[in-house]
């Protein structure tokens, strides 16, 4: 059974899904299955039969996804960029279930995504910026 990560990257050409650690620690391979964020590097492809699978390629084209990208880029939450696709997916998933997350909830929401550049503070501020923008949009 192949990993979902490989099917998405190699068969579907969805290369926003990154392989970082390959063991569910870093979150670079984050995708959304049935509205919930998961790591595709430790998920056998057969486990998602019949499920809705979303990668960043889709999420960044949605109104909320665009605001997540804007929040990260405007606040300096993107530096080397390797964690950014997975981070964006995790943030989008968080905001689906919690439109006004506290700082603690944001930290928990991105706790499965490692970033070695920013120290996270700019990312957290970016999420807050996005949440504010979503409120204004009434999304």
């Amino acid at each position: 059974m192949r990993r979902l990560l490989d099917v998405l990257r190699e068969d579907c050409g969805l290369t926003a899904v990154k392989e970082g650690c390959g063991e569910g620690e870093c979150g670079a391979c984050s995708i959304i299955i049935d509205d919930r964020v998961v790591d595709s590097c430790i998920l056998p492809a057969g486990a998602v039969e019949g499920c809705a699978v979303e990668t960043l390629e889709h999420i960044r084209e949605t109104p909320r996804g665009r605001l997540v990208v804007d929040g990260l880029s405007q606040g300096g939450g993107v530096q080397c960029g390797f964690c950014t696709p997975g981070m964006t997916v995790a943030i989008d998933a968080l905001l689906r279930h919690n439109r006004a997350p506290s700082e603690h909830e944001i930290r928990d929401g991105i706790s499965g995504n490692l970033c070695r550049c920013t120290g996270y503070q700019q990312i957290i501020e970016g999420v807050q910026r996005t949440a504010d923008a979503l409120q204004e949009l009434g999304e």
């Binding site: 059974m1 998920l43 056998p44 057969g46 039969e49 019949g50």
Partner: protein, 346 residues
Amino acid sequence: MSTAENASTNAATGGTASGATGPATGDGAGGAGTGGGATGGADTNAAWLHPRDLAEALSLRAEHGAVPLAGATDLCVRYRGSAGTLPAFTRPILFIGRIKELCEITVHEHELRVGAAAVYTEVAAHPATPAILKRTIAELAAPQLRNVGTIGGNIGNASPAGDAVCTLYALNAEVELASRDGRGGHGGHGGRGEIVRRRVPIEDVITGPGQTAIGPYELITAVFIPLGCDDFSFYRKVGTRRANALSKLAFAACGTLEGRAIGRLSLAIGAVGPTVIRSRALEERLQGADWQQVRTLRNELVDGYLELISPIDDQRSSSSYRRRVTKNLLAEFFDRCLPGYLHGSH
């Protein structure tokens, strides 16, 4: 729909590494009725079996000696290869993550029944889930893993450092195991007959590191958690990174109050021995104790627990660190947490 794929253990990147999808082969299919069935495509030892219901899952488990898999968070790491390669499973995989009965969480009289394949996120969100289990899950892993990881997997994995398992010990959880009896086919165990269930206290299921009393034809189907047994609770996890890191140590205690005295208390410590440590004898010393008696007994109890633990040195921590932290957590529990509840100040 049946999915039968052969995982080639050394397939490199690209192309179609696997992919026999089609009608079931082998004489074991169709045991659950509607035909089609699911069974390993060919005779490689890493087939992917995708049963539709529990009855079929139990048949496949018996016929193929398949390893149950739901969230895959442990197995895919344990069998991972280098980047870009497939997990090198050595036995057929039985995917049980979508079987409805195994995903349900229900309340039956005074207990919560959590299906073995219910994911942590669902367990934490259920209104009847005891507070100490919600807290354990909140501190366990990260959203990516809580969204697929299961309590059944934490039990089957039988790691002494399993966070959910430690709390389930403290909650006096029982594990439901199911198999199919021999009628209708194979004779003896593991046939295609009625589904047979048994309930076993969690400490009798986990027998050592990675060792369980689960039979070769059995699956974990559910965990039963008594409700109303946690008037007070205390949970601490000690790890490196807050998310994802396996615990150096876990400590879970809960119990009932009778006025300003302890009714029943249970205390479990994880990752300080071959299995989670619990002592009925020491717990009984506290039955009926008020805060003054707790103060009188605390040295004896702390010494008693320190004698029971046998922590090891490993990549996550040292024996002496674990012993010291156990002592500190016992002190925090007996000197601060419990008196707070018994004074009625919580």
